[in-house]
Every structure is written in structure tokens, then in C-alpha cells.
Symmetry: C2
Subunit: 473 residues, 2 copies
């Protein structure tokens, strides 16, 4: 590619980007299509001959962009989903130009330093100890996996060498924990049944007395309590487990404390959420997702370890072909000693760029506005006789259901149908949760474009979907 071709390709991609953001507010959030229809559109034989780049950029713009879920739409409230930002696009682009492989210092000197700086900034945002270390991983599931693997290694250090020897290591999570915790426990040989789901209170936060009882039962049964995982924003309700009380229990029993802040970790940027983080420095590891509430594009999770040696014990691995020849001290540093990956993309660049571009003040204001939007819709719901708020609005997640006065049918079935209809209509998007066995419409505000007007429109859209479902009978 000549420089002229390269500039032309970038200009075309820039136009595709400008068009994307221009069309976004008017697009249905979810395209009305099927797997079959998309295969008919996209499927083709393995290309033997190449083609020009311009028509391929056009195909992406024309065939792929509109046939995706529009995560950046201001009324997309499903799951925990960042909208991305234009600056994040520039960051991904420049990271791909350099194409650093951030395995270790000597493979990527400046990128390694940028990663350290970005990790240090995140520690400061959280109030996490300066001596902690951390690194970027592909997302929250891998960050939870890494925290659990470190916990396992502390409690069963022989397992790395000899395999897990049938000891019953026990992991304690609230019943609201994310499935990646159980999944990680299954993968690292602890087993799903050794993940104990501790009851929560009316506020969906872990009941610390129940945690204490569970640990006691396990000790009497001869099991080995290993790790407590606290939610720093539970996935269904946003409930923030009481870190200080949990840390005290963990310390008393010598357990690893892992904090799953994949959703809520960057709420620390907002003054009203700061008190939740008072005891964060006591966590042995923390999982975060810059690709969630730091508004970055997908593919950037983060794990922090209070004691770097514990992480090295779990992940460090020697091979002659990666031995540092001629490098020592800081220049012999390797990220693979702290996580499951060897080759790693330059994820830190976008974290660094975003924090410098936006600054923590504006980011904190954006997080605060998201929380305010969720509280606002919470008040709208509480003021509505046909809607029922199902959990306190702690951060930016809200759970509710439609409960028409006088309706005597199955509210779970009704709300499932309302959810499907809402998604089909395409103007607002919620996802689902189950709270104490009851079906909930669940939303999460994670878009800096979202305003209170969008929350009002969401309520209208839900009512419209409800009317459509009720009219069908």
C-alpha cells in the first residue's frame, strides 16, 4: 500500500465512522433479521483472489454495521455494555499500527511503561495500594479467572506442580455473583460445587453473617476455605457487597479476597459511589473492565494483585526461548508472570489515551450522570402504578417489571413477552434478570450520551410494548 492508498483507506474508514455515529440514533437497536438471512447475505466461498480495500470497507459499512446490535445507541440498556468512543477508535488504530506484543519489557519497552502507568492510574482511581501490580487482560471473565487462580495457588501451592489433589477448596460468592466466577472455579479444578453461594439481604448485598456461617460449616466439614469473591456492583442489580465487613471475615479466616469490579469498579470515579470503595485496599485482587465503565471499546479487562508475588507464583513460567539474555532488573520484567497470556496486544494504549483525553473529572461526571439517569428512572418507576421497582438502584442498574393494576396472570410470563416485544420494536433495549426467582426487566446505563430524556422514552417504550403484549392477550 502506498502512502496515498493508505490515506485514502483511512479517509474511507473515517467516513464509515462518521456515518455510523450520524445514523446511530435513528437505527433500530436490534436489527430485524435472522441467522439464515445474514448467512444468505454474507456467506461466500473462501476467497482465493484478493480484492480492493474500498469495496470491503463499504461492505462493512453497508452489510455488517446495520445488522449488529447498536451498543452505542443512547437507549441501549442491555447487559453491561460500553458504547465505545471516537477517541477509542483512534487508540485501537494506533495500537494496530505499532502492533506491539506486550509480553515483557524487552519486547515492547514504551508499551510496557505505558501499561504500568495506566495500571498505576487505575490503582489511584480505586484507592488501591501503590505496591500492587496488575495488567490488562481480554475482559472481566479472564480477570476473575486470574484472581481465582492466584487465590488457588496461595491456598494449594502444590497444585501447580502436582495437580489438584482432591482437596475441597471453597470459594464464597454472593448468590448474585457473575457466572464467570463459577466458570473459573470449574476450569481451575476447584469445581462448581465448591463455590458456595451466600445469601444476600433485601438490598441484594452479601449477608456477612451468612458468609461467616458458611465458612464455619466448611471448616467443621474439613473443607479448605480459600477465597471470598465480593461484588463491586453485582451484574443483575448493581448491589455493592460490604467490602469492609467481608474483608474482616476474610482476614480472620486467612482467605483471599477477590473483588469483582468488572461492572462497578470505575464507579470509583464518581464521588457518590466513593464510600463503597472504602475498604478496597484490603482486597487481594480486583477485576475491572475498562471496556465497560471507562467507555473503551471491547477487549480490555484488568486485574490487580495487592501482593505481586502471589500472582507470580500462579503464572510465572520459565522457558529458554523467553529467557532474558542481556537484560536485568526492570528490563527483565515480564507480564506473563502475572497472567495467563504470553502474546498480548497493546491494550494499555487506549486506557492511557482515554484517561489523558477525557481526564478523571469529566469521566467522573459521566459516571455520575449514568447513576443519576438510573436513579431518575427508578423514581419514575416508583411513581408509576403500573410498574414495580424490584431492587434498590445502587449504581446505574435498575430492575423492574410491568405489573398492570388488576392483572391476575403470570407476571413472569407477561414480562418475558414484554421484553421480547421491546427488543423487537428496537427503540429501547433492556435485558433480563431473575431476582429471588422473579423475572425482571433489567437496564444498565453505561453510555455518556444517555440523558434523562432517554429514560423517559424508555418508560414510554416499555408501556408501548406492554400494551402490544396485553392487546395480543
Amino acid at each position: 500500500m502506498t502512502e496515498e492508498q493508505l490515506r485514502a483507506a483511512c479517509a474511507l474508514a473515517a467516513e464509515a465512522m462518521a456515518e455510523y455515529y450520524r445514523l446511530l440514533p435513528g437505527r433500530p437497536i436490534m436489527p430485524a433479521t435472522t441467522s439464515r438471512a445474514l448467512r444468505d447475505l454474507l456467506e461466500e466461498p473462501l476467497p482465493r483472489e484478493g480484492s480492493e480495500l474500498a469495496p470491503l470497507i463499504d461492505a462493512i459499512r453497508r452489510d455488517i454495521f446495520p445488522n449488529s446490535r447498536q451498543n452505542a445507541h443512547p437507549r441501549f440498556f442491555g447487559y453491561v455494555q460500553s458504547p465505545g468512543t471516537p477517541a477509542g477508535v483512534i487508540g485501537e488504530m494506533l495500537a494496530a499500527v505499532l502492533n506491539a506484543n506486550v509480553t515483557c519489557w524487552r519486547s515492547a519497552p514504551a508499551p510496557t511503561e505505558v501499561e504500568r502507568i495506566a495500571v498505576n492510574w487505575i490503582k489511584q482511581i480505586l484507592g488501591y495500594p501503590p505496591a500492587a501490580e496488575g495488567l490488562f487482560v481480554s475482559g472481566g471473565s479472564m480477570a476473575n479467572f486470574a484472581g481465582l487462580a492466584a487465590a488457588r495457588t496461595v491456598k494449594a501451592p502444590e497444585a501447580l506442580q502436582h495437580g489438584m489433589g482432591g482437596q475441597r477448596l471453597r470459594v464464597y460468592v454472593s448468590e448474585e455473583a457473575h457466572f464467570s466466577v463459577s466458570k473459573a472455579a470449574a476450569l481451575i479444578g476447584i469445581g462448581r460445587e465448591n463455590v458456595r453461594r451466600v445469601a444476600t439481604g433485601a438490598d441484594f448485598r452479601m449477608d456477612v453473617a451468612a458468609l461467616e456461617r458458611a465458612i464455619g460449616e466448611d471448616l467443621r466439614a474439613g473443607h479448605t476455605p480459600c477465597c471470598v469473591v465480593a461484588n463491586a456492583g453485582a451484574v443483575s442489580t448493581g448491589a455493592f457487597d460490604p467490602l469492609g465487613a467481608i474483608a474482616a471475615v476474610a482476614r480472620r479466616h486467612g482467605l483471599w479476597l477477590h473483588v469483582d469490579g468488572a461492572y462497578g469498579g470505575f464507579a470509583a470515579l464518581a464521588p457518590e459511589a466513593r464510600p463503597f470503595f472504602d475498604a478496597i485496599a484490603e482486597a487481594d485482587s480486583v477485576a475491572l473492565d475498562p471496556h465497560k465503565w471507562l467507555y473503551l471499546p471491547m477487549g480490555c479487562g484488568c486485574v490487580l494483585y495487592r501482593d505481586p508475588a502471589a500472582a507470580r507464583a500462579a503464572f510465572s513460567h520459565f522457558a529458554e526461548y523467553t529467557r532474558p539474555v542481556g537484560w536485568r532488573d526492570d528490563e527483565a520484567f515480564a507480564f506473563w508472570d502475572y497472567g495467563p497470556e504470553l502474546s498480548r496486544p497493546f491494550r494499555a494504549l487506549n486506557v492511557w489515551l482515554l484517561l489523558k483525553y477525557a481526564g478523571t473529572r469529566a469521566l467522573g461526571e459521566a459516571v455520575s450522570r449514568n447513576i443519576a439517569c438510573a436513579r431518575y428512572v427508578g423514581r419514575l418507576i416508583e411513581a408509576s402504578p403500573d410498574l414495580e421497582l424490584m431492587a434498590p438502584v445502587e449504581l446505574s442498574i435498575f430492575c423492574f417489571r410491568v405489573a398492570p393494576p388488576g392483572f391476575t396472570g403470570d407476571l413472569d410470563a407477561l414480562n418475558e413477552r414484554i421484553l421480547v416485544e421491546l427488543q423487537r420494536q428496537g427503540s429501547s433495549y433492556l435485558s433480563n434478570a431473575s431476582l429471588r426467582g422473579r423475572f425482571a426487566l433489567r437496564g444498565c446505563v453505561l453510555n455518556y450520551r444517555t440523558s434523562e430524556a432517554e429514560m423517559e422514552r424508555l418508560v414510554e417504550d416499555v408501556r408501548r410494548a406492554a400494551r402490544a403484549v396485553l392487546a395480543e392477550g
Copy 2:
């Protein structure tokens, strides 16, 4: 950001890209810097206020780009490292614009179909069965992890629920295997000591008789043979284990066969390497790295499973908040049933884009040219009385050492010093390997820009480094 600002930012990033490629051939591959110097340059307090994007792009161009290892340089031969491509930059950019989260069909309809298409194309490139399934992961370490996790689940299905119960599952690898296999075995509770390193022949390929003996010993000792990992291009030498003979042993003993094709998998594009892949269809899982020999930017690995049900057994996990409400059949498909991640970036876009942009014919020619360059330097080395080829050149990796006629000192120590000097000089870059305990200078040709002239220049650079070291005494 207005459309004009967005266009201007893209244009600045495009200029940074054009400049990057323009300056590349003249840049030292490894910057002469230190961790301390880079911290002094880059470190700053957590930014509270934001800044304009233009100076940040400029800082990346000015401070970060030149202070990295230049992986796209035509004489960068270290490790197994893709140069990236300008088309790959466009792909990353457009993936970040859409910011799809490819967890499942309903979260990303077109991206899910694009991933299926790209995976199907890769299956065709390899000659892997049409009924296989696969997905993109962050890299080869995770792909090997996923293959081993599936193998463990087949041999010890109860471990997901109950934890690993002290059974001695045995994994067989050649002594040339990548460390990610042992690392994965340690993480999933099998334990490093249960990874048996099988001897290799003079060609560094797994000795199949030794594999058979190791399995027999383990069976007599009451252990549980679980999995054979075959190298489809070993990391140190490029040796390609004999898949057909290994598959026969694996089948006879009911073992899972995982093929680590992170380095060599896409050699299947080159006619001269095709015969190595004759038995690939018998592999139960295959790890590949499009971010290596498909020349894509970092962050794209791939794992394929012959029997998709085995992968689902290992990875599938239910949670109410991810339950498909209103979706069935193809539209209820979830990638998290096949790998460790939940949220996933749209890695497939760049695979799809690259295969359509370049086509398999040109890609195969590029791979062939890489192999030809390695063979060429192998011949140059063999014709040189002062150089010693240390392993056959099977794919695009070459291992050698400087052995000056009459030199009676320690050749290992001499070549270590030569490597350090070569990297310091910055014109060519090799990495290190240990072959039968001897220190080797190791190179891997993985850049479509590399020509035979670069190989001649490499030999000159090595001789220059050797002279400098020998002159120092």
C-alpha cells in the same frame, strides 16, 4: 466530537501511520533506552483535566512509536511475530467503531455470522472437518488452554462439578513444546509434573515410539493418559510433529489430540507445507494464531474443536441474566459455550477482511516466500565455515550459531554475547533458543516484506556482531 473533528483526528492518525511505515526501515529495531529513561519521559500524575486529541496522537507518534521494538521491520526475526498490515489497521478501527460484543448471536448478529464464516474459512485452509466449531480467542496461550480444558473435561468430566480429585491425568508433549501447554496444565489443575515431555528425533520431531512407551509406563503406573499435544511448528525449530503417527497412537489409547499450530498452522496456505497437514482432520482440537502467520495485528488467536459437544461440556455455563429470551436455534447460539470468555471483541472482522483483501493465493505466496527466505539463510549458513546450522529448516524458523574456526572457548557464552550485540546494533534482530542444551541464535521469518537480500544482510550483521564480541575478548 463533531464529524469534522472526527475526520481531522482520523487524518492525523493516518499521518502517524504513514510516517510509521516510512521511517520503519531506517529505525533501529530495538531502541537504545532503559526503563528509567522511559519512565522519566512518560510518567505523569493521573490526569484530572482532559486534553485535546491532536497532541496526544502526536505524543504516541513521537514518544511511544520509536521507543518500541519495531516488529514490522523486515529484519525483525525474533520470536514468532507478525508485522501487522495497513489493512489490519483499518479492520481494528472499524471493529472499534461498531464495538460489537460477540458473546452470542443475539448480542451481535452480523459479527457472529462473520466469525462463523471466518472460522469456516480457516477450517478449509487447514483441511479440518466441516462439522467442527471454533472461535477466536486472544492468542495462542488461550487457544492451547481451551484445547486442554476440553481434553480434561472429556477424560475427567466430573472435575467441572466436583473439582479435580487427585487423578493423575497425563498430557504428552514433545520436549520442544511451547510453555503455554505446561502453564495451562498447571492452571487447570492437572499439574506441571503430569505433562510428560517426550523425546524428539534428530529432526526435533516427537519420537512416536517414545510417546507409545510413555503412555505404556503411565498405564502400568495407574495414571490416566489424557491428551497428546502435537507441535504444528515447534517454537524453537519449527519442527512439525508427525500428526498421522501421533493420531494413530492417540486413537489407539483413546487420548485427545490437540495440535498446537500457533506458529505453523497457517503454513497450510503454502503448497510445500501442505503434506504436514495430511492428518490434521484427526486432531480433536487445534490452536492457531491469525495474529502470527496470517499477518494480523496482535490479539487474535483461534481454537477449533472437531466435536463441538466436547467444547460445550467444558465451557457451557448457565445464568439467568444470559438466558436467551425469545431466541431459539441458530439465534440462541452463544460463543461462551466454546471458550473461557464472555465479553469478546469482534476479532473475526480482521480475519474476514484480511482473507478477502489478500486472498489465499497471495497469502500462500507470502508464506512460501517466508519459508524460502529461511531455507535460503539455512543454505548461506551451511556454506559458511564460521556458522553452524543447528536444526533442519522445516518452515520459516532457522537456528544456528557462530563457531569461528579454531575457537576453543565456550560457544554458548560467545553466542549469547553475539545475540546481545546484534540486538544492540539494531539492524537485525534474532532471539534465543536452547537445542539439546546448546545455545542457539534463532530466527523466524514472518514478514511479507522480508526478501532474500534481508537474509544476506542478517548474516553480515551477525558477523559484524561476532567481530565486535571477539575483538572485546
